[in-house]
Point group: C2
Chain length 142, copies 2
């Protein structure tokens, strides 16, 4: 889940926190794109590639990105100016719930991908996409 | 390994390829930093956090980043102007070997992290760091 309690070990500057969260999301989106191409858009299915992509998404989801939202990171520039909305920091219980749903969905996608069942992967992929969108709709600026 | 053969499913623009590889490396470096803090710099050890960080590094390593070096991506801008050296594209067998060593080391770090043996994690962490540096020394501009 998106725990905001960070240990000292995870302290990074506001700029780095923004950069690392943008990195994590961008890298997940590359992997979502690979899965989409193969289970939605009809490109040739490659089990190793889909499983590896789902594992990358799940491992990033499980890595505690909540630590990348330190106080003060509502504004600032990482790779680019942050798109987080101020509402993110004002609705932490809701953010935590959305992040928890996202984590669950990401781990379910990895489990489905490991089986190679394309119907199950398609369904799990759709659920992950919904959890990305749910957060963006509320907490990411256009 | 860093396979350059990309399926149609993995095709992205040069700009996106550069962005996604910068994202993958940046996200790994955040996770390397968390592990370093705890097994080298003496910050409090948190087994879940170290295991999750090592899993993120391994899953990113396993995700086929070779596909993020398409022809033409020796120059261009992703999140920022690429730092890859032209030599990268001229020495693919060597790059493949360095990438293979990196993958092996990343998976060994994840295995060590799962055991919670801090001495083994420290050793495996050091090996991963060497494989990052080996590639940067030859193929990443300062």
């Amino acid at each position: 889940a998106l725990s905001i309690a960070t240990s000292a070990a995870a302290q990074v500057s506001v700029e780095d926190a923004i950069k690392f969260r943008q990195a994590g999301y961008a890298f997940m989106s590359w992997n979502m794109g690979k899965i989409k191409a193969q289970v939605i858009d009809g490109q040739p299915y490659n089990q190793d590639q889909v499983a590896a992509a789902a594992n990358a998404i799940a491992a990033i989801a499980n890595s505690g990105m909540g630590a990348l939202y330190p106080a003060g990171s509502d504004t600032g520039t990482g790779f680019r100016a942050t798109k987080v909305k101020p509402e993110f920091f004002q609705n932490m219980p809701d953010v935590g719930q959305l992040a928890g749903s996202f984590n669950t969905a990401a781990n379910e996608l990895a489990a489905a991908a490991a089986t190679g069942d394309q119907g199950a992967i398609r369904a799990a992929f759709g659920k992950v996409g919904e959890t990305c969108k749910a957060c963006h709709d509320k907490y990411r600026a256009k």
